[in-house]
């Protein structure tokens, strides 16, 4: 029963995609601009035998997710920047105790209470773990409602496969915009691979334990080494990026909403005869270093564009490794850059060449 194309708001499309991926439990707390996700789940989940809880706080919601994921369910929470900060404690525990789950951040401007307009200023928090300790989460940065929908199922699959929390970073724009989407076929949660490690009651087996306490230093180090080995495997296998116009002399690097704007600016620049492409990271962690190796065969310079004052640009510089100049252009606080602004930066990059390093 493949779905037909439907016009849906980003937040609602994401929520429906989660239900179709077998998610039956949602725990959340109201915060703009992601409220359509809990609102949708509050009526949709009971229809499929699931449960929705409006928690007392983001802290409680992420800990409910820890319990639900620990009990073996596909479950999720969503929030926006200030609420995501509150969830970091729980995400750290989930990473350490290897509890799968999906966390969605419809990012808004910060720091502090910030604003409610779209932003990408939680990039560092998302890609560096975000909470305390030596861990990472898989992070997706979709650029369209369709891609967001497609990544939800993948996010749940990877969360289960690697027993790790997975984060989808959208923004106020992606959450609020309506686009045509084809929804995926529904997955029956009862037919997903079993989770013999889950705490479901020790019927006829030895008790299971979900835990992140390791009082012996050597034991705690051992946990960390095991996690790092898992992260290395994820880095090797799970990188995703789109390269538009491979073989170009210059590349704009952008993800999410910003990538949509940059795609337009790149098109305009090419009409002016400039040799320019777009490198669009889809996984923000693992960062798509392989895509950089590919474009570095021709690239003479990079322009990173973000709705922040420069966060992903750090990863771009690490990936480029000094082999070409890396420029940066950003707007923040909820201000969305225009294609004209980006086009101006592209022209400057090509004119100045190495001088812009």
């Amino acid at each position: 029963m493949k779905s037909e194309r439907v016009l849906m708001k980003g937040n609602e499309a994401l929520a429906e995609a989660a239900v179709r991926a077998g998610c039956r439990y949602f725990f959340g707390y109201p915060i703009t601009p992601q409220n359509e996700i809990p609102e949708y789940m509050s009526h949709r989940l009971p229809e499929v035998g699931g449960q929705f809880i409006q928690a007392e706080s983001e802290v409680a919601a992420i800990n409910m997710l820890y319990g639900a994921g620990g009990a073996g369910a596909r479950a999720m929470t969503s929030s926006s920047s200030p609420g995501i900060s509150l969830k970091q404690e729980g995400i750290s525990y989930m990473a350490a105790a290897e509890v799968p789950g999906l966390i969605v951040n419809m990012t808004r401007g910060g720091p502090g209470l910030g604003g409610i307009q779209p932003a990408q200023s939680d990039y560092h928090q998302a890609t560096r773990g975000g909470g305390h300790g030596d861990y990472r989460t898989i992070v997706f940065g979709p650029a369209t409602v369709q891609e967001m929908v497609d990544l939800v199922g993948k996010a749940f699959d990877l969360a289960d496969r690697y027993r790790t929390p997975v984060v989808i970073v959208g923004d106020g724009m992606l959450g609020q915009m309506m686009e045509p989407v084809v929804l995926p076929d529904p997955v029956d949660p009862d037919r997903l691979p079993p989770k013999p490690w889950a705490t479901t009651g020790a019927r006829g087996r030895r008790p299971n334990l979900i835990n992140s306490l390791h009082l012996a230093a050597a034991e705690c180090e051992e946990l960390n080494r095991r996690l790092q080995a898992k992260y290395s495997e994820i880095q090797a296998k799970e990188q995703m990026a789109e390269i538009v116009h491979p073989g170009a002399d210059y590349f704009v690097v952008a993800y999410g909403t910003t990538a949509r704007i940059c795609r337009e600016a790149v098109g305009q620049a090419r009409e002016e005869g400039l040799s320019i492409g777009l490198l669009r990271p889809i996984t923000l962690w693992p960062f798509p270093t392989k895509a950089f190796e590919e474009v570095l065969e021709t690239a003479k310079g990079f322009l990173t564009v973000e709705m922040s004052l420069g966060q992903m640009v750090d990863d771009v510089r690490l990936s480029v490794g000094g082999r070409a100049p890396v420029r940066f252009y950003g707007r923040t606080g909820g201000v969305v850059p225009s294609a004209e602004e980006v086009l101006g930066e592209i022209r400057r990059m090509v004119e100045e060449g190495d001088e812009g390093r």
Partner: protein
């Protein structure tokens, strides 16, 4: 589960043994600590209700963080104060399980007040074992919200002064006014008689969950002789002489649908309410 082999002399019978729901290990608890008693009572109730294979325990942060080593059931270790939220997640996914949290007063009555209040508000079918020893034990004897006025701790030198540090928090009284709380009781682990009453309360708190009546919470007044700087015997006496007057023992709420209907009450009766709720402040010993 391995057991030490031991030949029972003929003509004798076992009158006391390790509950099946406890593991056969040496605990890390200090000599004189009442956690061992509380663990045993919970395990005995799990055995008697025959729910070991359905039980999921949530360990909290504090001295009882290692409870996951001692209960021979599925366990999750939760962040400080968050056990009721974690328990909620488990129970909603697996309603056939019997979920209990085991939390100290630093965990439940300080950092975790939001989680316990809202788990009770939602009427979650959970059982909460709440250890009140009037101090932060694990971290070395700092003041807890439950510390008595005048009680000396490492962060209330000269004794807790209400002008600066407020007053002891009475969790049972607070939780019992919430309609989603089904059974709320406070007992003391200070004498054989009170320990027997504590076990009865723990059983009732599990039964409330099994009957899907809502949240069951048992507060156990407990000793911490090491941080109180007393002998174990003096510590048990101090529970009765100092803690009980501030934390009266008894059943604060025992809500049943039948009782509520008989009283035709639109809300679940709290302490001092109608049928099903025993009088608060029932005397100790």
């Amino acid at each position: 589960m391995t057991s030490r082999t031991w030949e029972r002399p003929s003509g004798t019978e076992i009158v006391y043994e390790r509950p099946r729901s406890l593991t056969d290990v040496v605990t890390h608890y200090c000599p004189g600590c009442t956690h061992g008693i509380a663990h045993r009572l919970v395990a005995e109730v799990i055995d008697e209700l025959d729910i070991r294979e359905r039980a999921v325990g949530i360990a909290s942060v504090g001295c009882s963080v290692l409870a996951y080593k001692y209960f021979d059931v599925d366990m999750l270790q939760a962040a400080h104060g968050r056990a009721p939220a974690v328990a909620t997640g488990v129970k909603r996914v697996r309603p056939e399980t019997v979920v209990f949290t085991y939390q100290g007063d630093g965990d439940l009555a300080a950092i975790g007040t939001a989680e316990i209040v809202h788990a009770a508000m939602r009427g979650e079918n959970l059982t909460v074992i709440f250890i009140n020893n009037a101090i932060f034990g694990m971290t070395g004897g700092q003041m807890a919200p439950t510390t008595l006025v005048g009680q000396e701790t490492t962060t209330s030198p000269g004794g807790r002064r209400p002008q600066r540090a407020g007053y002891p928090i009475r969790v049972c009284e607070m939780i019992s006014v919430l309609d989603g709380a089904a059974y709320v009781a406070r007992q003391a682990l200070s004498s054989p008689q009170s320990i027997a009453r504590a076990k009865k309360a723990i059983r009732k708190a599990f039964e409330a969950q099994l009957e899907e009546r809502g949240l069951g919470l048992v507060e156990l007044l407990s000793s911490c002789s090491v941080n109180w700087k007393m002998s174990p015997g003096d510590a048990l006496r101090w529970i009765e002489t100092h803690m009980v007057p501030v934390y009266p023992l008894g059943v604060f709420k025992d809500w049943t649908e039948a009782g509520a209907e008989a009283a035709s009450s639109p809300v679940r009766p709290a302490a001092g309410g109608s049928d099903g709720a025993e009088r608060r402040g029932e005397a100790a010993g």
